[in-house]
């Protein structure tokens, strides 16, 4: 029976927590987020500053666990009619949120209805294109966006005699060989592997990951990432696990210690690890653009974002949404965004925040910190590099992770793992299509 409790308890809990808001003079705006640790303190500061700036509304941020947990509790709360005003949802949940038309209040509409000044052109195209409908309406407010970059250990490079930061996969291999020769345990590792080695790899080489413009043009999309380029790349990675060029260290950011402890000289993962690496690394480090294959594309296209956006949920008093709109304006102001960007490594979401960081001289004193933003805006995004929008993608990403792990352990060949990932992914896409007709 305990399994029943597992299913019902979170919903009940969410309902309880949602109902405890205290009635006070200022209208409360509930904001559920997934930012723990230092970033959580930063979130609180953003809310505090907003609350001090006016007396009509009070934003109450609540930490709800990791991305998945936050999204799940918001959904459970919505089903119990106790939803927060604002919820932070990670980018893979986008299709699920988009499909929930009765639950989501598009942020652009929120701003218009509240009469709040709002210009989409202020935002960086690579950031907002992920969250726009095919008609261009912005559905959620970008908050913390990042993109994978190549982190490298400058001291290790010096020791191994690597003079140039690798820009292609060929150079990655030779740099890794040098690192191994200098006594390092592995050349490189990476985290969030589906995001970095499938989703971003495809965008970076301007190859679609699925049909229908990566799902932007309809939910009857099918995966196509079992193409020759990805196949070749995964085969290389599989081969490189054998000689130590690449060592796998787990999902998400689990492999960070391998980079911090100087086992691997290079690490590919989100630019938002800047804060953690800066705090922990006892060596000089740098960041650079992701490597690419010269025989696939002459020069890289652009990378896609990860991270999360703030979704506004329906079902609250209409006056509350005025406060939500005001808060969104505060959140996306150049000062707040520049401060957030410089502390966390997330990219600034507006052009003004980027310009402000430049005039403040942040990139001069911290060279390389603009890698992410440069990478995102390298070229005008194409239908293949705008982002991805697949239903059930949380589960599908897990499937891709599983198949990749089976390849790294040698249980499956790269071709086999790739084909299985596509086949299993397609089955879930069909399931999503059916549930959202």
């Amino acid at each position: 029976m305990s399994i029943m409790k597992r299913i019902v308890a979170p919903a009940t809990l969410a309902a309880l927590i949602g109902s405890t808001s205290i009635v006070s003079a200022a209208t409360e705006i509930n904001w559920w987020h997934a930012m723990g640790g230092t970033n959580g303190e930063r979130v609180n500061k953003i809310a505090d500053d907003f609350n001090k700036s006016q007396s009509e509304y009070k934003v109450v941020p609540t930490f709800k666990g990791n991305y998945t947990e936050t999204m799940t509790s918001a959904i459970a709360a919505f089903r119990a009619k106790k939803q927060p005003h604002i919820v932070q949802v990670f980018e893979v949940g986008t299709a699920t949120m988009m499909a929930a038309k009765g639950a989501v209040y598009p942020v652009e509409q929120v701003m218009i209805d509240a009469g709040e000044k709002f210009d989409k052109n202020d935002f960086l195209p690579a950031v907002i294109s992920y969250y726009q409908t095919s008609e261009g309406e912005l559905l959620s407010m970008p908050f913390n966006s990042s993109t994978p970059v190549l982190w490298y250990n400058k001291d290790a490079f010096k020791k191994a005699g690597i003079s140039k930061v690798p820009a292609t996969w060929g150079e990655m291999k030779s740099a890794s060989d040098k690192l191994l020769g200098a006594g390092y345990k592995c050349g490189f590792s990476f985290g969030w592997q589906s995001w970095v080695m499938a989703e971003n790899f495809s965008a970076w080489h301007n190859i679609p990951m699925g049909t229908k413009e990566n799902g932007f043009a309809g939910i009857d999309t099918k995966f196509s990432f079992n193409n020759d380029a990805v196949k070749k790349h995964w085969n290389n990675l599989a081969k490189w696990t054998k000689d130590g060029t690449f060592a796998y260290g787990g999902r998400r950011g689990d492999s960070l210690p391998m980079f911090i402890n100087q086992e691997c000289g290079m690490w590919m993962n989100s630019s938002a690890y800047y804060g953690s690496i800066k705090k922990q690394a006892k060596f000089e480090f740098g960041q650079s653009m992701l490597p690419f294959y010269k025989d696939v594309i002459d020069s890289p296209q652009n990378s896609i974002i990860g991270g999360a956006t703030l979704w506004v949920l329906k079902g609250q008093k209409s006056d509350d949404y005025k406060g939500v709109a005001k808060f969104m304006t505060h959140l996306s102001s150049p000062e707040v965004q520049a401060w957030w960007h410089q502390g966390t490594g997330y990219v600034p979401i507006t052009k003004a925040a980027y310009a402000l960081s430049k005039t403040q001289g942040f990139y001069d004193t911290n060279p390389g910190t603009d890698t992410a933003i440069k990478q995102l805006s390298l070229n005008i995004p194409t239908p293949s590099s705008r982002g991805i929008r697949f239903g059930n993608f949380v589960q599908i990403r897990d499937i891709i992770n599983e198949e990749m792990e089976a390849i790294w352990s040698g249980e499956k060949s790269a071709d086999e793992g790739l084909e299985t990932a596509v086949k299993r992914g397609d089955a879930l896409l069909r399931k999503f299509e059916k549930a959202n007709k």
Binding site: K5, I7, I75, G249, E403, E405, W408, S409
Partner: protein, 295 residues
């Protein structure tokens, strides 16, 4: 002849059992029926559109080789957890039973792990065996073994089995020790006088007399391995790598709460419910008969 006593109809007994019935209905029957109903629906995460599809969720599950894989893993996992934790607990209990001086201290220490929450136990093992930071992979390196349960599925499975067994040893120990102490000393002494050694005495006298305890623990341990190990799996491996530690209860969570496939997840929990009912019936109907109850 005994006089037959008749009681008039009274509301009192019903009133007395009412709280228990209410608890059962609210916390067990109602959620279970909800899960049953949910398992017949295909629904979007927010519950905005839902469609009644009869047994489609089940069909989908039975056609899914990964579901059967999870099934198989769960059985291997449960079998190994139950035998490992019961075996070591029995050994420890027999040892502790013989200790004369300071036995209280030993027993207290042996019972301690039971107080550790599954997630905390998981975190403990996670750090001990972390391929980069952990102390044990570091030691293993010296004998030339490269431990990495983040890539190697067998190692990951072994790790969750160890962690889950370790946590259950204390509980089993407690019951085995109590069982051992209830065995009349005279039987053992008589056997000793007849010239039976400690091993012989254990297998022919102690072990058969312990069988009610063993049987009870077997049920408890299988149920534990099936359902209570979620926290350990979640903290150590999150079901990975490549699904190798995704036992059924973890898959229910993963599909339902991470994947937001409520119908599919509910269908799985209904199947799990069926398994528990089946296990309980089989064990009490058939296995119990063969257990000697010290008559």
């Amino acid at each position: 002849m005994l006089k037959r006593v008749h009681f008039g109809p009274s509301a009192l007994p019903y009133l007395l059992v009412l709280p228990q019935i209410l608890v059962t209905v609210i916390f067990f029957i109602w959620p279970a029926s909800q899960a049953l109903y949910q398992s017949l629906l295909v629904e979007d995460a927010f519950g905005l559109s839902s469609k009644f599809v009869w047994f489609e969720n089940f069909e989908y599950l039975f056609e899914d080789p990964y579901y059967w894989g999870s099934f198989q893993r769960t059985f291997v996992f449960s079998f190994l957890v139950a035998s490992l934790s019961m075996g070591s607990a029995l050994l420890l209990a027999v040892m502790a039973d013989r200790v004369v001086k300071g036995s209280g201290l030993y027993r207290t220490f042996l019972i301690w792990p039971y107080a550790v929450a599954p997630a905390a136990a998981g975190a403990l093992w996670f750090f001990m065996f972390n391929p980069t930071l952990g102390i044990l992979p570091y030691v293993l390196q010296f004998i030339g073994y490269d431990w990495n349960h983040k890539v190697n599925g067998t190692e990951a499975m072994a790790l969750v089995i160890f962690a889950a067994s370790w946590k259950q040893i204390a509980y089993n120990f407690l019951f085995f020790l109590a069982g051992l102490q209830s065995i009349p000393k005279s039987l053992i002494e008589a056997a000793a006088i007849d010239g039976a050694g400690p091993g012989r005495r254990f297998w022919t006298i102690v072990f058969p007399l312990l069988s009610p305890t063993t049987f009870f623990l077997l049920v408890i341990n299988v149920v534990y391995a099936f359902f209570e190990t979620f926290g350990i799996v979640d903290a150590i491996t999150s079901g990975g790598p490549a699904n190798s530690t995704q036992i059924l209860v973890y898959k229910v969570y993963n599909d339902g709460f991470v994947g937001l496939d409520l119908g599919g997840s509910a269908a799985q929990s209904v199947i799990l419910m069926g398994i528990v009912i089946g296990l309980t019936v089989i064990q009490f109907r058939f296995v119990e008969k063969k257990v000697s109850y010290n008559d």
